[in-house]
């Protein structure tokens, strides 16, 4: 049996390793923030490790030089629609997959196989369907491909399967419909799955570039990633304002993640172990 001293030194070494890895992962973030609050060029040599003459005016420039508030509003609306759609539709699909029905395994296999197909391969049919529905250049059109995602369906399925069967049977005996069982019994017991859905969908929708690029016609319907590309094409440099824009695009998704990270981690690990 290892002595307490050996255990403590192993623990210290492990923490030191984790700190070094965390530091290495945070360096790019630090560099972006440092560049955003100075006027230094990111390729300046020799680089300054600490920000020289820091200021926040780059953020003001971003706010006024392009229609940033409009892009922000567009991104918020599209992400809100995508998050709402994911929570509702994925919960319904996840619940259906916990039930026994003919062809269930085929549906599961179909879902799993669809995960192998990249979005780029289905983007033309997706565009044609959106056009047929008359949703090009609209918020619903922007959110349409994100309204339900297979990974998040499986997150709900795993969470619902962890709820004791007897609880659902009791709810059914009390006269609850299937829809009310989802809303009143399963959803309150699956908060980590809801948080996981919210975070993943929000981040995916927030960072989505290709789909908004294809279906927006009006510059005022563009979302933040498109605005970032447009800003880059105007500025054509690698100084503070561009990185201030990147920080402003990143900040909301980091905030959502920080707020829901506890449930998110619980949601990802629920169903990982049985018993």
């Amino acid at each position: 049996m290892a002595s307490k001293g050996t255990q403590a030194s192993w623990l210290g070494l492990r923490h030191l390793t984790l700190m070094v890895i965390a530091f290495l992962m945070l360096v790019p973030f630090y560099w972006v923030i440092k560049t955003a609050i100075t006027n230094e060029n990111i390729y300046a040599y020799p680089p300054n490790l600490l920000p020289q003459n820091p200021h926040l005016f780059n953020f003001v420039d971003v706010w006024y030089l392009i229609p940033f508030p409009r892009y922000l509003l567009n991104s918020i609306i599209v992400s809100a629609i995508a998050v709402a759609g994911n929570v509702v539709f994925n919960a319904m699909a996840g619940y259906a997959l916990t039930r026994q029905f003919a062809g269930r395994n085929v549906v599961l296999a179909l879902f799993l196989s669809c995960m192998l197909i990249p979005f780029q391969a289905t983007i033309i049919p997706a565009y044609l369907i959106t056009a047929k529905l008359g949703l090009l250049n609209t918020y619903f059109g922007l959110a349409l491909p994100m309204l339900s995602t297979i990974i998040c369906i499986f997150v709900f399925k795993a969470a619902f399967e962890a709820v004791p069967r007897s609880l659902i049977d009791a709810a059914r005996l009390d006269g609850l419909s299937e829809w009310r069982i989802i809303m009143r019994v399963l959803m309150p017991l699956s908060k980590p799955a809801v948080a996981t859905n919210v975070i993943l969908t929000f981040i995916w929708s927030w960072n989505n570039f290709l789909w908004p690029l294809l279906i927006t016609r009006d510059p005022l319907m563009q979302t933040l990633p498109l605005g970032l590309a447009r800003f880059l094409s105007y500025m054509e440099d690698t100084t503070g304002a561009l990185y201030a824009f990147a920080v402003m695009v990143l900040a909301p998704s980091i905030l959502v993640f920080l707020m829901a990270q506890k449930e998110f981690i619980r949601g990802l690990t629920s169903g990982a172990t049985k018993g």
Partner: protein, 124 residues
């Protein structure tokens, strides 16, 4: 018992909303587009009758959008600034042009009283 108002999903957005509303109110009270300052020569003496030009910031250049004149004490007042980032320049026939003074503001049309005067390099 956990109340909905003690949830971080209420507190964090609520605080953000409060800050945003507070900021809007502050901006609403201070966005009259006033910029006040002084023009001095190389000796620090006020320059009367200098033409003050204001340049708005575009993406890569600054464009002239107006001008005014300094009074007998060398003071000037711009009343219609709409930008968040401007440059100011003074000019007289005798002294030529001053160096441009960059003025960065926290929001568009923010009222500002400049501490640093517009300074000519040459003496009269």
């Amino acid at each position: 018992m956990n109340h909905w108002w003690s949830s971080r999903w209420f507190i964090v957005p609520g605080l953000m909303l409060l800050v945003i509303v507070g900021w809007w109110l502050y901006v609403g009270q201070h966005d009259n587009g006033l910029i006040e300052g002084r023009v001095v020569d190389a000796a620090g003496q006020p320059v009367a009758g200098a033409t003050i030009r204001i340049f708005d910031r575009g993406f890569v250049t600054h464009q002239e959008r107006g001008q005014t004149e300094s009074d007998a004490q060398g003071r000037f007042r711009i009343t219609d600034n709409t930008s968040h980032s401007v440059q100011l320049e003074a000019e007289t026939a005798a002294l030529g042009r001053s160096e441009r003074l960059e003025v960065r503001l926290w929001f568009a049309a923010q009222d500002a009283r400049l501490e640093q005067p517009l300074r000519f390099k040459t003496k009269p």
